[in-house]
């Protein structure tokens, strides 16, 4: 059932801006780091020396700041596009009168969003690799870390996906969902900095990197929280999805 839903949803996403949105996060990260390494390469080299590590690690550490903004923004836009497909042509009433479970309609749309965002992660992998080769960040390519840093930050954002999709679906005027998405992605940067609020889902994109700064020694270390953040993202995300799909199915008026 869900499989058919996704196939239908993929078809409906034709000719929408969903595909460009998949490239949004990788592209912005790539461009941001390009300016960084072109304009102030000496700063980056100096940072690498201070933190006693290589340029690859500095790149992975630095790109997370822009990524932590572009991931929630891509999610916000993608969720809005997916919901808007149904809003625009008054299609909800047709869809909800079909002989399918209402909750699976919601889950189908979520899976499309999840797929698009994961794809964004995969594209990021190639964008990082291309960047590293282009700027010659060194021969010691950290393959596993590259993979982790491209896919995991996206996988850490499941609760945000559910939240944004629900907002976009339940409130027809998309400016509301987009404003909320933009503000909360910025709030996430601040949440990520405190040891307590870093467990709020909006902080996950920033803390979803494989590298992290040890504030005491000022060295870059492997992120010890990453595994917990991933688990949190899946547990909270799936819990939220169940609650929200239930709310969606129970709605009295369509």
């Amino acid at each position: 059932m869900i499989r058919h839903m996704i196939r239908a949803d993929i078809m409906k996403a034709r000719r929408t801006v969903l595909v460009p949105i998949v490239f949004l996060a990788p592209l912005l990260t790539f461009l941001y780091e390009c300016t960084n390494f072109l304009v102030r390469i000496e700063v980056m080299i100096q940072q690498a020396e201070e933190k006693q590590t290589g340029l690859w690690q500095i790149f992975l550490y630095d790109k997370q700041f822009i990524l932590s903004l572009t991931i929630p923004l891509s999610i916000t836009l993608a969720a809005s596009v997916i919901a808007n497909i149904e809003h625009q042509g008054n299609a909800w009433k047709q869809l909800l009168a079909l002989p399918i479970k209402r909750s699976s309609i919601f889950v189908g749309k979520f899976l499309l969003l999840f797929l698009a965002i994961c794809l964004s992660g995969v594209v990021s992998y190639f964008a990082y690799l291309l960047f590293g080769l282009f700027f010659d960040l060194g021969d010691d390519i950290p393959w596993m870390q590259l993979l982790g840093d491209s896919v995991l930050p996206f996988l850490c954002s499941i609760p945000i996906m559910v939240f944004q999709l629900y907002l976009s679906i339940s409130i027809k005027n998309q400016s509301f969902a987009i404003l909320t998405g933009a503000l909360s992605s910025m709030a996430g940067l601040f949440f990520a900095l405190s040891p307590l609020t870093k467990w709020i889902p909006w902080a996950y994109p920033l803390n979803g990197s494989t590298v992290r700064l040890n504030y005491r020694t000022q060295h870059l270390i492997l992120n010890p929280d990453l595994m917990y953040i991933l688990i949190c993202s899946f547990v909270i995300g799936i819990f939220l999805l169940i609650v929200v799909a239930w709310l969606f199915a129970r709605k009295e008026e369509v």
Partner: protein, 304 residues
Amino acid sequence: MTNYVVETEQLTKKYKEQTIVNKIHLKVKEGDIYGFLGPNGAGKTTTIRMLLGLATPTSGNICVFDLPLQTRRIDISKHVGSLVESPSYYGHLTGYENLASLARILQVPQQRIEEVLEIVRLSEVANRLVKNYSLGMKQRLGIAAALLFKPKLLILDEPTNGLDPSGIQEIRELIKELPVKYGMTVIVSSHLLSEIDQMATQVGIINKGQLLFQDSIEMLRKKSEPSLKIGTDNLEEAKKFLQQKGIVTTLKEGYLWTPSIAKEAVSTINYELISAGYDVFELTYYKPSLEQIFLEITGKEKSL
């Protein structure tokens, strides 16, 4: 069990304090074209939304195919095609893709898409984007979508809304064919009696949330049988006088009315009245149109 395709009991919908649909008992038999008639804001769309499970009734029951809608919505909706209010469509897809996206969910073979496009005569524009369709084409696409999985019951809410006369004609012909060709039962709502008159077999008239009339279209037509309008002075006495002569009349709006309209009867009445010394200043046939009956039933005459 009953042999009704759709049956509602005490169906009621309230929004806050306002009662939109008030205890209505709809009964739709198999093979009927049920015309659901009422002025704008009478509660037609709300009722139809409840029949489709798009709105939850405040109280009352709905049975479709003898199954309770509340618990068996999915089983029921496998056999119900619908078009509610404005057409639903994906503007950035072609007409064909619109139907294909539904066909994927419903597991309908591709060949059926072409069939329904043929039925609603959209085959030629199937590969054009729907946002470039005219309203009539979108409406027909909506009907195609409703027909996609060969429903036993088709629910159409104002399907001819916003169409030009030829479009209206086309949809009307299409709806009339459905029970004959495919054995479907059709519920079609409208605020125009003339439209229902031309296709429905059964009629339900709703106003202010109440079902005022529900019977065959013939019964409604019977209400429009002609009568004779007699204008005379001294109405009360004239009425008694005619009664003695065996002619039953009723007094209404300052005239006497009688259903005897044969030529001889009219002559007799005229002769008797004048012989008895009454002034007769008017003798006319009066045949109310269905529209007038509709207005009478819904009580809208005064407000118009």
